[in-house]
Each structure stands twice: as structure tokens, then as C-alpha cells.
């Protein structure tokens, strides 16, 4: 009886609540959309909320941690047709991301679908750009993974779960295993994912997670979940029995304190009603809380790589591989580089795939190889790694490029495998003038595309012998170094000083040495003067005397001979000097019939010879 009464009471209350919900909801439809659905951190998207109905509802901006909503505009259209009012209200918000993550923006109006906004870390993606592969509300479910489903562990009161999907649980150290990490979020109860899943422990390494997980919808335990899936790969780094869990930070909406949690409605059909996100959102009864949801521990048996049968050239590659090789050209000139390529394709951790290629090959100069990995899937589990090694033949003729070996461990067969490439033949033509003597020209391996051009274009010039000599400590030319820049002015100062010194030396009054070629012969002068005195030729006597004194004075004053005139002598030596009187008598004798006695001839001869003889006339 009591139970019947209680159930009746619950039925009445439920009908009242449903009726209230029905009347409270405005008649009509509500739409909510966001564009773009994927933005970079710091970017913004536009959230548009549209209500169509007979009433104009009050729209309040959503509240999502990590997102900021700025009202951009609001428009209303009201139509009254035959007395029926139809209103279309559109509110636009600019959504600014303040942190990376996947955010669920709840419906701002009853009847509107929540929308999901993905905020990437920002590196490499342009703001407001639609990221390829991003998901948006309404996207179709992704093809289901081929991996077996792992057990889900729900956290945060059933609002979310994290689970791993793996193909095997026994693996070898270094073996790469594809794994799907799935995070399920109860629609409306998870406000946002605050970061990608992270690995617990140091026994495994995880490949880089894709920025945009795939999104599917799934019913788990009868409740709808949005499941985000990251396709990646796991590598074990140490042996043993190891456990692995994944953590995911997210923000969930929980019921506010004081709300009935079971209690009066416990065990009744209304518990689900109260727990329904739409119900809680409608009444504003939920709060948001940051939580971390962990997956169920997955146990692995990690085996060490066997030491028995390990090849000497084993470099740590674990997986299933195949090897092939080719060469850039089958004809080359002596000294020209050719490129040997080895292709390793298959499945496994290609970071562990390495090869020294050719080393110390007879008749070949081999350079350090480069490697380039081309993945065939998004996680880099399948692909092809191409090793390129430049080779230069040291001899002309038909040469054979030796085979290259590659070893790896195959977990499927549980043994080491070894493969080698086929020997390749190359025709090397002699270089004119032995140009290939200096092996070491750079190859065209700066780009794979340029390899073909090598066979057509002239070869690269080879390296030079560097004996270490002629090195300088700075590349700055001397022109622009302060110490060297001071040298030209110093040279100019020295030249200017010499110039000034020369000018000063030319000033009159300075005692200068009589140059030997200017010195007249005293004996010849005396003989000539005696000859003119005997003949009584006064004009010629003073003529030769004057010429001799002119040479002496010109030499002394550093001037040309014609510059030594009577006026110049008078101005410099005065009018009473003996030399002046000789010049004046010479002028007088030239223009008059001057007569002299033998005594006067002897007296003037002695005076002239005295001034000419020592070279320093007073």
C-alpha cells in the first residue's frame, strides 16, 4: 500500500514537472552553430544562437571555462500574420579561446544542440583557420578502429571515461604497437577537454598525438557519449611486466551541493531525470569542476631482445622490413658524385632504423649518408626510410658499388633478420686532365629532385687541400678595422711632414752647402782673370768674376742662376760689400770704357778668388 502511494506520488510529481517543462519551453525551434569549429589558441570563432518561435526569449551567453564570450550583435525579426506572432532572434557571440582543448559549449536555449569547439595549441596553424580533419558538431562517426576495444573506466561520476585499444599485450623492447586512446565524454556533462591524454610511467614512449582527434558517438551503458579517439603508437623501452595507464584532464559539470542525490528520489525513475544534463542545465543546477580521468591499467609483458643470433651490424630496428637499393646514375665522370640509395620499408619504429651504408669501400670515397622517412600512415608506423649516400669513384672504368647490409629483429618470427642490397654497376669515364684526382665534390643530394639534373649539368667542383695555412682571425676586411684604418692617415701625415720640411729648407738665409757641380774651378778662374788683366780687358775680367760669384750665390741661395742679379745682390748683401762692388763694376765695365791699373787688377782678383775659393762668401 505504501509503495503504491509512493509511486503514485512520484507519478504526479513527474507529470507536474514534465508539464512545467513543456510550458516553460518556448514554442518553436532553437539553433546553435559555431564557425569555425577548430581554431588556434588565441584565435576566435563566432557562435550564433537563433531562436524561431512566437516569443522572443532572453538569451544569456554560455559559461565555459577557457572560453570567453563577447556579444557581437543581436537581431530580431517579428512577423504577425493573421494575428499569429512569429519572432526570429539571432544573437552572435565572438568566442575567444584562452586555453587549448576540446570544449563543449552547452545549448543556450532549450532545444538547441550543444556545439564543440576545438582549440589547438597554435603552433603552425593560422588563427581562425579551419584545421583540416577537425571535427565539428554533426560530423559523421569515424570508421571504427580495427583494434579490439579496451575496457572503459568511467570517472567523474560517469561523465567521462578513458580507454586504450591495443592489438597485443606481449611485445619486445623497441617494438612499436599501434594504439587508440579514446576519451568518452557524456554529452552535456563534460564542459571541455583540457589537454590531450598523457602517459603514466617511464616504461613506454608514445608517438606524437595528432592535434585533432577523430570524433564518434557511442552508447555506453545506455548513455550517449561523444568519443574522441587519438590514433598513435606505443613503444616499450624496458623489459618486464609493466602496467600502463593514461590520464586526461577535463572539466565536468556536477550537480551543485544541496541538490538531491538520490535521497528522496533514490531508487526511483526520477533519478535519471535529475541527472539528465538538459534538466540540470535548464534549472542552472550544475557547477563545473576540473578533474583528471584515468584509464584502466593495461598490463604488458615486455620481452628483452635476444642476444643469441644478433648480427654485428644490428642497429636496434624492430619490426618487419624489406630492403632495396638503386643508384642515381649508371654513368658518371671520374670525380663526379653519384648517390647510392637504400630503401627500408615496412612496419615498426623507424626512429630505430639506421644504417652506416658503405664504409671503407675499396676504390670509392663514401660520404656520410642522410636519411629521410616517408610515413604511409598518420602515426609513422608504416612507411619507407630512404638512406642516401654520396659516392665518388677514385678510379675510372666499370665499377661495382658493393652491397649494403641491414639487420633487424622481427617480433613475429622472434628472430633477427638480415638483408642486403644487390651490387650495382656504374661506368666511370676518365676525367680530362685527371680532374677527379681530388675526390670530394659535393653531390647533388641537396635535393632528391636534383639528382637527375646531375647527369646533365656539369659536376660540382671538388674540395681543396687545406693545409691550415693563411688563416686569419677575422673576416672583416682591413679597410674597416680601426687599427688598419689609421695607417693611410699616418702615411699622409708622414708625407705632409716631408713636404713641409722641404718647403722650410727652401727659405732664404739658410746656410746651404755648395753643391760640387756648382763650385767653379779657382785655378781656372785665376788663370782666366790673369789673362784678361794682362790684356787690360776690364770688361771680360769682371765678366768672368761676376759669373763665378753668381754660381756661388745661386748655390747658396738655392735659386736659379739667372735669378742672381745685381739688384738681388744689393738687396741681400747691401751696397757696400765686396761682392756687390764686383757686380757693380762688372755692369759699369760692360757699358763704359773703364780702365784699371795692374795693381787694381791684382787687388780685385784676390777679392774674387777669396769669395769663390771657400764657397761661403760673406
Amino acid at each position: 500500500m505504501k509503495s503504491y502511494g509512493q509511486n503514485a506520488w512520484f507519478a504526479i510529481v513527474g507529470l507536474v514537472l514534465i508539464a512545467e517543462l513543456a510550458f516553460a519551453a518556448p514554442a518553436g525551434t532553437a539553433l546553435q552553430s559555431i564557425e569555425p569549429s577548430t581554431i588556434a589558441l588565441g584565435g576566435s570563432a563566432q557562435l550564433t544562437i537563433t531562436s524561431i518561435g512566437s516569443e522572443m526569449p532572453a538569451i544569456t551567453p554560455p559559461m565555459v571555462p577557457g572560453l570567453e564570450f563577447l556579444a557581437v550583435g543581436q537581431s530580431q525579426q517579428v512577423q504577425i500574420i493573421n494575428g499569429v506572432t512569429s519572432a526570429r532572434t539571432t544573437v552572435t557571440y565572438q568566442v575567444i579561446a584562452q586555453q587549448a582543448g576540446v570544449f563543449s559549449i552547452p545549448s543556450a536555449l532549450p532545444g538547441a544542440e550543444p556545439v564543440v569547439l576545438t582549440v589547438t595549441g597554435g603552433a603552425g596553424s593560422a588563427p581562425n583557420a579551419q584545421v583540416p580533419g577537425g571535427f565539428s558538431q554533426g560530423s559523421q562517426a569515424q570508421p571504427s578502429s580495427s583494434l579490439p576495444a579496451g575496457s572503459a573506466r568511467q570517472g567523474a561520476s560517469g561523465a567521462a571515461f578513458v580507454r586504450l585499444r591495443l592489438s597485443k599485450h606481449e611485445l619486445y623492447v623497441g617494438e612499436m604497437v599501434p594504439v587508440d586512446i579514446q576519451v568518452g565524454a557524456r554529452d552535456g556533462m563534460v564542459a571541455s577537454l583540457n589537454g590531450p591524454p598523457t602517459l603514466n610511467g617511464d616504461a613506454f614512449t608514445l608517438s606524437k598525438l595528432p592535434e585533432n582527434p577523430s570524433r564518434t558517438e557511442e552508447i555506453v551503458d545506455g548513455k550517449p557519449f561523444i568519443v574522441f579517439t587519438w590514433h598513435t603508437a606505443l613503444v616499450a623501452v624496458k623489459p618486464g611486466t609493466l602496467s600502463l595507464t593514461m590520464d586526461t584532464p577535463l572539466t565536468v559539470r556536477v550537480r551543485a551541493p544541496g541538490r538531491p542525490d538520490g535521497g528522496f528520489f533514490s531508487g526511483s525513475g526520477f533519478e535519471d531525470l535529475f541527472n539528465d544534463p538538459a534538466f540540470q542545465n535548464f534549472f542552472g543546477a550544475s557547477t563545473q569542476r576540473d578533474v583528471t580521468v584515468s584509464s584502466n591499467p593495461e598490463t604488458f609483458t615486455v620481452l628483452p631482445l635476444p642476444t643469441e643470433g644478433r648480427p654485428a651490424d644490428f642497429g636496434g630496428a624492430v619490426g618487419k622490413f624489406a630492403v632495396s637499393s638503386d643508384i642515381s646514375q649508371d654513368k658518371a665522370g671520374e670525380g663526379d658524385p653519384i648517390t647510392l640509395r637504400m630503401r627500408v620499408s615496412g612496419e615498426g619504429d623507424f626512429q630505430r632504423v639506421s644504417s652506416p651504408m658503405l664504409q671503407d669501400a675499396d676504390g670509392w670515397k663514401a660520404y656520410t649518408p642522410t636519411a629521410n622517412f616517408k610515413p604511409e600512415d598518420e602515426i609513422g608506423y608504416r612507411g619507407e626510410k630512404v638512406f642516401e649516400q654520396p659516392l665518388v669513384s677514385l678510379q675510372a672504368g666499370t665499377r661495382t658499388v658493393p652491397e649494403v647490409h641491414f639487420s633487424w629483429f622481427d617480433p613475429a618470427t622472434r628472430r633477427y633478420e638480415q638483408a642486403h642490397t644487390e651490387p650495382l654497376t656504374v661506368a666511370i669515364t676518365p676525367a680530362p686532365g685527371g680532374a677527379g684526382a681530388l675526390a670530394g665534390s659535393p653531390p647533388a643530394s641537396t635535393g632528391a629532385a636534383s639528382t637527375t639534373a646531375d647527369s646533365e649539368a656539369p659536376a660540382w667542383r671538388p674540395d681543396r687541400p687545406d693545409d691550415g695555412g693563411g688563416r686569419i682571425s677575422t673576416l672583416l676586411p682591413h679597410y674597416f678595422q680601426p687599427a688598419y684604418m689609421a695607417v693611410p692617415p699616418l702615411v699622409l701625415v708622414a708625407l705632409s711632414t716631408a713636404w713641409l720640411w722641404m718647403r722650410r729648407a727652401q727659405r732664404p738665409g739658410e746656410v746651404t752647402r755648395l753643391e760640387p757641380f756648382m763650385r767653379p774651378s779657382v785655378d781656372a778662374l785665376a788663370s782666366e782673370m790673369d789673362e784678361y788683366a794682362t790684356a787690360g780687358n776690364v770688361q771680360s775680367f769682371f765678366g768672368v768674376a761676376r759669373t763665378a760669384l753668381c754660381k756661388v750665390l745661386a748655390s747658396k741661395w738655392g735659386v736659379a742662376l739667372p735669378a742672381v742679379t745685381t739688384d738681388e745682390v744689393v738687396s741681400k748683401l747691401g751696397s757696400d760689400g765686396e761682392i756687390t762692388r764686383v757686380f757693380m763694376l762688372a755692369d759699369e765695365a760692360a757699358y763704359s770704357n773703364l780702365k784699371m791699373t795692374p795693381l787694381e787688377f791684382r787687388q780685385w782678383k784676390r777679392i774674387v778668388l777669396r769669395h769663390v775659393g771657400d764657397g761661403t762668401p760673406s
Partner: protein, 231 residues
């Protein structure tokens, strides 16, 4: 024209060049800790070849340009530099007429040739002014000296732009202003040669071969003449 006037013009020219070079050097001086290093044309050339071998065209171009500074007429060096630029899809970057023809010898050798020419020409002009004998030989000496000075100054003027020459180490964005997140004007490809016009913080104002100017992060560029060499 008197000999003394010729000597005066020569002296004024050399002094003007010294002042010009000093001023320009002060303009391009940058702050960076000194790093000791030894350079030779062969070493830089082989280093560039190694970079080219390992698929690093930007570093290869940088080393080739440094080698070209010391051995500007080396045909092998010019050929390999041409090949690297060609493989990177870049123009040859021959520069102006002055740069193309003025860099005809090692600038350090040309510097000393200029100094010797200055001394020789100056002495010959002084001797001519002093009316010394052998005036014909002195005149020849003066002409040779003046020619050496002219060649040195021509080489210095052609080498000067290298002071502001930078190589893009990777593809870089040139922005409108020297701040992070500024709007991008254009991009410069890796290994491209650009001229630095100014610096602000961690950004350099550059001009590319097309004449476009923009601010690029300093970490994306490397100077042909390392900043440690400018101390």
C-alpha cells in the same frame, strides 16, 4: 696642374675615404660577444661543400660567401655557389655593377697595395716637387701609386656592402614591425641573401633582392661577416 696640387688632391681623397669608412663602420657595428675563429678560403670552401653534401643550402651559401670574401675570383667557388643557389631555386645574387667588378681580389691584399701605392705616389710627387733628377721615373712612380690607390678604393667600395649582407638560415617571414605576431608582408626563402638596414631588439630590418623591406627575427639570419669579427 702643379704637382703640389695633385698631391693635395690625393691626400684629401685618402683622408675622405678613411673618414667615410670609419663612419660607415660605426654605423654597422653590432653588439655580440667575441668568438675566436680562424678563416681561410679553402677551409670555408670545403665547409660549404660539406654543407651542400648534407643538404643544408643555407649554411652552404653562408660558407661560400665567406670564402668568396677571401677568394672572390675563385671559379670553383663561384660555380658551386651558383649550383647551390640554383638547387635552392634562388637567383645568383650578382649585386650591383660595383660589387660585380669591384671584388676582383682579396680585400686585405688590396688594402696593402693601396698603402704601398700611397707611399710610392706620395714620395714620387715630393721628389718631383723637389726637382730631383730622374723625373720620368718619378712620374711613372706617381702614376703607379695613384693607380694602386684607386684600385684599392674601388675594391673597398665594392666590398663595403658585404658588411650588411645576411643569409636566411631558414624560410622566414618578414613582418611590418619588429614585434612578435606582427602581420607578415612576405617570406624570404632559406639561403636567400638579404641586406640588413636596421636592427630593433631581436629583429632586423632587411631588404631582399626584389627590394622588399620587412622585419625578420634575428635568429633566422646569419651575417656573412660574423658579428664576432666586427669587434
Amino acid at each position: 696642374m702643379r704637382v703640389s696640387q695633385l698631391a693635395g688632391m690625393l691626400a684629401a681623397g685618402v683622408l675622405a675615404f678613411s673618414v667615410l669608412a670609419g663612419g660607415l663602420r660605426a654605423q654597422t657595428a653590432v653588439d655580440s660577444p667575441p668568438v675566436s675563429a680562424d678563416y681561410s678560403a679553402a677551409q670555408q670552401y670545403n665547409l660549404a661543400n660539406a654543407y651542400a653534401r648534407s643538404g643544408k643550402p643555407a649554411l652552404a651559401v653562408l660558407a661560400y660567401e665567406r670564402a668568396r670574401l677571401l677568394a672572390p675570383t675563385d671559379p670553383d667557388l663561384r660555380w658551386n655557389l651558383h649550383r647551390v643557389r640554383e638547387s635552392a631555386g634562388l637567383p645568383d645574387g650578382t649585386g650591383s655593377w660595383l660589387e660585380q667588378y669591384g671584388r676582383f681580389a682579396n680585400p686585405n691584399i688590396m688594402y696593402w697595395i693601396g698603402i704601398v701605392g700611397l707611399a710610392l705616389g706620395g714620395c714620387c710627387l715630393l721628389a718631383l716637387a723637389r726637382r730631383a733628377p730622374f723625373r720620368g721615373a718619378l712620374a711613372v712612380g706617381a702614376v703607379v701609386g695613384c693607380a694602386a690607390i684607386s684600385a684599392s678604393m674601388f675594391n673597398a667600395a665594392a666590398t663595403f656592402p658585404v658588411l650588411s649582407e645576411y643569409i636566411a638560415l631558414r624560410q622566414a617571414s618578414a613582418s611590418v614591425s619588429p614585434v612578435a605576431g606582427a602581420d607578415t608582408l612576405f617570406t624570404i626563402p632559406a639561403a636567400a641573401t638579404v641586406r640588413r638596414l636596421d636592427r630593433h631588439g631581436d629583429f632586423e630590418l632587411i631588404r631582399d633582392s626584389r627590394g622588399h623591406e620587412g622585419w625578420v627575427a634575428s635568429s633566422d639570419l646569419a651575417a656573412v661577416i660574423p658579428e664576432s669579427s666586427r669587434q
